[in-house]
Amino acid sequence: MNPWGYDCNEFVEVVTDYLEGKLPGEDRARFEKHLELCGSCRDYLEQIRMTLAATGRLGAEELAPKAVEELLTVFRRWKEGKAEGR
């Protein structure tokens, strides 16, 4: 049994499994033990979390009014076509 839970080079490879809730119970315990003992790996996990948070911010994009206007035109045209039974 590794007294550190994991070695750091193993830790960085199971970070995603951990965050995804896919680490089996005993591995999870090892992971958390290592986290307690290793400051750099705590920082590493934190950096991964910050990376995710920053990536999430990229997703929130405003719509260009022009694009919306164009889409509405497409929508109206479709509606008219439908009404005419095409």
Binding site: C38, D43, I48, M50, A54, L71, F75, K79
Partner: protein, 287 residues
């Protein structure tokens, strides 16, 4: 979870081959699912249908609606919007546009070369949504359905404008081999005091890393780093972390196993952290 119910796509999915991202030229293009070689990719879906058509007319996706898809969240809300759309209600349409447009554009952009073409593909997608709405039975979530229409459109567009390779080949390439999250030399070797542990403490991202990472400049850099990820990793990271899809949704949309999804996510995220790290180092080194 993560099991895909019956589905008729995914295994043959192709992605734009971008010469600029570390790929050399190679043999490409496979239009026939039945003959495709699966390069070590776990194959979850046994009901592969051969003879796919990527003609524009095949993109309205009536076939998709008959699949046993995952039930979307907020399905009461979805049902209301769908009904509104069927009735030609503009508010319902605008709500859907607001909800899905950024996602659609982002996914489209993975297949085609320019923003302008991506916009066109998205417009065609909405048209496909209108045309298919009567036949949409709500078995797949609305999002999954709309994105599938988009992928069909974008794919056929992408095929016309660039060379393609099968998505499963990408997944095979990008999940195989060794791709360490952190360069091996960052850890102590067997001769070290603590083999496998950090050789030097991990550098922090300045005094206020949260603020730094969310600055516009860093976000812009991060956007570029995502663009630079290998195709399948970029796809998974974009859908999971940027568009906040669930793992199940990503597996279903891309036709990949949960295990492969996780490997791609892990490799992609690790690369982005590395990119941010070197960006931070570079800035710290500047006087």
């Amino acid at each position: 979870m993560g099991e895909r119910a019956g589905a008729g796509r995914g295994d043959w999915m192709a992605v734009e081959w971008r010469g600029g991202f570390g790929y050399s030229s190679g043999t490409l293009c496979c239009h026939c699912a039945a003959n495709e070689t699966f390069l070590g990719v776990e194959r979850q879906n046994e009901r592969v249908r051969g003879g796919r058509s990527v003609s524009a007319g095949g993109a309205t996706g009536p076939r998709d609606t008959r699949e046993q898809g995952s039930q979307g969240t907020g399905s009461a809300d979805e049902a209301r919007l769908l009904e509104g759309l069927r009735q030609g209600d503009e508010d319902a349409f605008l709500t859907l546009v607001k909800r899905y447009q950024p996602l659609l554009k982002r996914v489209a952009r993975m297949y085609v070369r320019s923003d302008a073409v991506a916009e066109e593909v998205v417009q065609e997608t909405w048209l496909g949504v209108f045309q298919g709405i009567e036949r949409f039975e709500g078995r797949a979530s609305l999002k999954t359905w709309v994105v599938r229409i988009l992928m069909n459109r974008a794919r056929s567009r992408g095929e016309r404008e660039s060379r393609m390779i099968p998505f499963s080949a990408l997944v095979g390439d990008e999940t195989g081999g060794s791709d360490p999250a952190v360069a091996l030399e960052r850890f102590q070797d067997a001769a070290g005091e603590y083999p496998g542990h950090w050789a030097a403490p991990l550098p922090r991202w300045g005094e206020n890393p949260e603020q730094w990472v969310c600055s516009l400049e860093t976000l812009e850099y991060l956007r570029g780093a995502i663009q630079g990820l290998p195709n399948a990793q970029r796809m998974v990271v974009t859908l999971r972390d940027e568009q906040e899809w669930t793992a199940e949704e990503v597996c279903e949309a891309l036709g990949i196993t949960e295990a492969n999804q996780r490997v791609l996510l892990h490799r992609g995220r690790s690369k982005l952290r590395r990119a941010l790290e070197s960006r931070n180092e570079g800035q710290a080194a500047r006087p």
